[in-house]
Amino acid sequence: MKKLIAWVDDRTGIKESLNEALYENIPSGARWRYVSGSMLVFAFVTQVITGLFLWMAYSASSQTAYESVYFIQYEMTGGWLLRGVHHFMAQAMVVLLGVHLLQVIVDGAYKSPREFNYWLGIILMQLVLGLGLTGYLLPWDQKGFWATNVATNLMTLVPFVGKEVQQLALGGGEYGHHTLTRFFAMHAGVLPAMLVGFLGLHLALFRRHGIKAKITSGRADSYFFPNQVLYDGLACMALLIVVLMFAWRGAELGAPADPSEQYAAARPEWYFLFLFQLLKYFTEDMGGEFMGAIVVPGILMTILAAAPVIAWFRGGHIFNVAYVLVLLVGAGALTGVAMYEDSQNADFIAAKEQAEHDAHRVRELFDRRSYDEKTGELSERQMADARGLVHVFRNDPLTQGPRLFQRHCNSCHAYTGEGSQWQFPVLQDPVKKTIAEGKEGIEVVDLKNGKAAYDETPLTAPNLYGFATREWIAGMLNPEEIAATSVRAENKPKKDSQDPRDFRRVIESPYFGNTAHKDGRMVTWVKKHLGSKSQSWTLADGETKFDGQIVAVADGDDPVLTFKTEDDKEKQLKISALAETSQKKAKKDAQQQKDTGAIVKALSAQARLRNQAESDIADQAEIARGVQLIQSTCAQGCHKFGDVGQIGLAPDLTGYGSFEWTMGMIANPAHERYYGNENDRMPAFAAHLQDLTQNKATAQELALIVDWLRGDYYLKDDEKPVLPHVKEEAVLAVNSALAEPANIVGLAPSKLTPELQAEQLFAENCAACHNHLNEKGQGIASANPSAPNLYGFGSKEWLRGLLDPERIGTAEYFGNTAHKDGEMVRFVSENLSDLTEEQQTQLDNIIAMLSSRAGLPSQTDSDKQAGADGMIEKGKEGFETAFEFESCADCHSYAGDGVPDLAGWGSKDWLKEFIANPAEDKFYGESNDRMPAFRNKAEAHRNLLSDEELDLVVRWLRGEEL
C-alpha cells in the first residue's frame, strides 16, 4: 500500500498538495464560526452531483420538461429524493450566502488586502442567485412559469438593450422550447462553469491571504487538519441532514405550465419575495417599476459591493456592518409583509388551494386507466401523451368542465344542487349608477322607493345539475316544477347599504319557468295530463279520505266501502258516490304515477349515465314498459322516439341526454332534431360543420362540458373508471347529431317547384299525424297516422266521409284522436244513420253549403251549380234546423264561439288561422287534441312555420295553383 502511494506521489506530488491543503495555519485555532465557506462549497458540490443526475433524466422542451420532471419526482426510484435534495440545497445555499456575507462583513474579512476576494464573493453571490432564478423555470410548472415570466418581463426595463436581452434570454418573443433550452444551458452549463472559475479564484485568494482569524490571546494556533476539518465535516453533515429532512417532504411540483391559463398564485421563490414586495410600492410617481426593479436594487447592490472602499474611511466599517444588517432585516421584513399580505388575501389563498388541487389532479390523471367491459380489466396507465401532460390536463372534464360551463353557460343555466361541490347560480345585479362627483368611480344601487331597481329579469334556462338523471326528468314532468320560477335575494342588505353586491339576487327556475317554453306545448301538456286532478281526496295505506275524513278502506286493488260515519242515509249515499269516484280517480292517478315513473326511468335510461348504470339494468322491465309508453304518448304528434314519431315539432327523444344527443343540442339547438324554430335564444355553439372557425366553441370544449355534466371523467376511486371523450369523438358526435347530407361540388343550387316545396312542408310538419292520400292510396303517407286524412279537405267528398257514421270513427277521420269519443262522432252516429230520402237531401244541401265556404278551385263549377239549384240556401237552413233532436248549429257557429267556428270553413284564411293556432277558443279550444300551434308566437321567427310556408301549404292543400 505504502509502495503504491509512493508510486502515485512520485508522479503527482499529491502528498505535498494535501499537506498544503490540510496543514494551513489557523491563528488562535479552529473555530465553528469558520465553517460557512466550507458549507457553501459542500452545498455547491452537492448541487453539481445531484444536478448531473437530474440532467440524466431531464428533457428541455415545452412538451417534455414538465413530464420529465414529473417522472423524476413520482416515477423514478429515489427521484423524489434527488430532486428534493437539489431543490432544498439550493435554498440552503441562499441562506448560507447571507450568513457568509454577514460574517465576512462583521469580521472585517472584506477589508484590505482582501478587497478582490470580497468582490469575487459578490460575483459568486450573483451567480448563485442566477442559478436559483434559472432553475425555478426548468420544471415548467405553473408556478415557475408565471413567476419567471415576471422576472423576464422586468428585463425589458433595462435601458437601451432591455428588450433585446429579454429576447435573447427567451430565445424569441414568447416562452417556448428555446426558453427552456436557453435557461437550461445557463443553469447547467454557463453559470456553474463561471461559478467554478470564480470559486477557484476565490479560494486561491483566500489561501493567499490566509484566514481572517479572530485572535484570542492564549488560544493556540492550529492547523486546518484535523480540528477545523472535523468542524467543517460536522457542519456539512448537519446541513445535509437538515436538507434531507426538508427533502423528505418532497419538492413541490405544480400543474404543468399553461400560458393561456390564468395563474393567480404566482410568486417567486421565497428568497426573491422581498424584491417582489418592493415592486408593489413603486408607483408611477415614484419612478415606477424601473425604479423598483432596477434602480433601487442596483444602488443597494453597488453600495454593498463598495464596502471595501467605504471601509477606507473612518467609521466605514461600522457603516458597512450597519448597512448589511439593515439590508438583511429590511429584506426579511419585506418578505414578512409579502407573506402576511398573501395570508390575508382570500383570492390568493383560493388560488393557491386551486393550484394545489390542480397539481393533485394532474397526478391522478397521469395514472388514469379505463375499464374494459369485455375483458373486465383495467387498462394500462395512460400517463402523458406526446403532446404533454398539459394537454391531458386541459382536456380533463372534471377540471375544465366547470370553468367552461361558467364561461359559456352560466349566464342562463344554473348548476346548483345539494351536495354538489360546484354551485353556479344565475345571478342578477341591481341597476347601478356611478357617482361621478366627489367619490369618483364608486358604484351605488339605484334605489327606487327604498328598493333596488332591476332591469328585466334575465333569461334563465334549466338548472343542469343532474341533467337527464331520473330526478331531473321527474322534476321536468312535475307540473309544480316545470314552469316554476322564483327570485330570491342573496344577501340581506345592511341598513342604508348602497353596495350593489348586497342587492344581488338569484334567479331560480329549475326548468322552463323563465323561458318562452313556459307557455309552450310541453308545459301545457304536463300541467294538463300530469297535474293533480282532485284536491279533495287522498289515498294512503288503503284508506280513502274525503275532505279529511276517512270514508273508505280499500282492500288491495278492490275498494271495500266501509263507512266510518253513521250519518243519515242521504249523506251516506252522497259520500258513497263521492268515495267511489275518488277511488276510481285514485286508482287512475296511481296508475298514471306508475306510468310517469316508467317514462322517467325509460327516458333517463336513454342517457346511459354511468352513475345510473346499475339501476338501469335493475329496472329493465319497467324501462321497457316506459319505452312503450313514450312511444304511445310522447311520440304521438310531438317528439320522435326511435322509429316512432317525426322530428321537427319537438326535440327528438332518441338518445336523449346521451353524449351524442347533448353534444348536438349544444352545438345547434335550433337544428330540426332539437328545438328548431322554437329554440328560445339558446345560442348555437358549434353549428358550422364546414367552417369551424365560425363556431363559438370547439367540439372538444363542448365535450368537456358534456362529459363533466354527465360524469364521464376519470376518477381514481371508480371501480370501473372511464376516460373522457377525445377530440375525434367530440367532432364525430356533433357531426352525427347534426348530420348534413353530403354536398355535391359544383351542383347548381336546387330549385324546388312550389308543389315539391309544399309536399316537403307537409311531410315535415303535418305527416307526423296526418295522411294525404287519395282514394287509390297515393300521396304522402304518415308512418303513424293519428289525425284525419287531409286529401281533398273541404271538398264535398271529404265532408261526405266525415258525416258518414261508418267512416267518421275510423282512422281516416277521428279514429285515432280524442275526438273519437267526442260530441261530433256521437252526433253523426246518432243522427245520420239510416237517413230517409228527405234527410239525405238535407244532408247533401248542408254539405254543398259547407263545401262552398271552402271555395276550392276544383269545385268552382259545382259550387256555382249548387248556388243556382238553391242547395246552398237550403243548406244554411238545414244547418240550423235539420235532424230530429239536434242540429249543427247547436255546437258550431259562424260567430266565433262555436267548436270549431265554421265561418269560412276550409277557406284559405280559415285554414291559415286554424293551423296557426287550433287551440284558440273559436276553434278547438281546450279540447284540441295534440295539434301544435304552428304560428302563434309574437316573435315571428320562432314559429314552426313562416307565413310564406303556411300560405304555401294551405294553398297546396286546397289544390290552388301554386
Binding site: 418581463n153 435573447l168 430565445g171 424569441g172 422550447h177 393561456s260 417582489f276 408611477e284 417599476e289 368611480g441
Partner: protein
C-alpha cells in the same frame, strides 16, 4: 446562433381576429374573458388553434352596441388580470394593480397601484360588430412596466 432570436422575422399582428360574438357579452356592461386562438408556433412545433392570450370584452354605450377590448395582461409586470364580479374591478393577483371597468387605474384601499398605465386597449372592428354582431380584434401584446404602450413585435 445565439443572437438568432434578434434576427427572426417578426410576426405581423395587424390582422383582425374573430374572438367572440356580440351576444356572448353581457348587456349590463359586465366584462367577459375570452381566449384568443391562433396557430401557436414554438420553434419547431406548430399547434393549430391554441390560446395565445386572453382579452376582456365589455359592452359600452347607451345601446350597448359598442365593444371595448382590453388585453388581459397586466401592464405592470405581465401577470394575468382577474375580473372580480364582486367588486366590479379588474384585480391583478401579483402586485396590487387594480383597474375600473373603464380600464383606468384605481387604488385599492390602503394599497398603492404600481401599474404605469391603464389596461391596454385593443382595436375592435366596429363595423363587424354593427353589421354581423361579431367581435374582431387586433390582438397585440405590449411591454409591461412602461408608461407608454409599446407593442411587442
Amino acid at each position: 446562433m445565439f443572437f438568432d432570436p434578434l434576427f427572426r422575422k417578426k410576426k405581423d399582428a395587424s390582422e383582425f381576429k374573430r374572438v367572440a360574438t356580440l351576444e356572448q357579452i353581457p348587456k349590463d356592461g359586465t366584462p367577459v374573458n375570452v381566449p384568443v386562438l391562433a396557430d401557436k408556433v414554438d420553434a419547431w412545433t406548430v399547434e393549430v388553434g391554441q390560446p395565445i392570450g386572453a382579452v376582456y370584452l365589455r359592452r359600452e354605450g347607451e345601446d350597448g352596441e359598442t365593444v371595448v377590448c382590453y388585453n388581459a395582461v397586466c401592464p405592470h409586470a405581465g401577470c394575468m388580470v382577474a375580473y372580480s364580479g364582486d367588486q366590479s374591478k379588474f384585480l391583478c393577483p401579483c402586485h396590487n394593480s387594480a383597474f375600473g371597468l373603464d380600464g383606468e387605474k384605481i387604488d385599492l384601499p390602503g394599497k398603492s397601484n404600481p401599474s404605469p398605465r391603464p389596461m391596454d386597449t385593443l382595436e375592435v372592428d366596429e363595423e363587424k360588430v354593427k353589421k354581423d354582431g361579431e367581435v374582431w380584434i387586433k390582438f397585440e401584446n405590449f411591454y409591461p412596466g412602461k408608461h407608454d404602450k409599446v407593442a411587442k413585435t
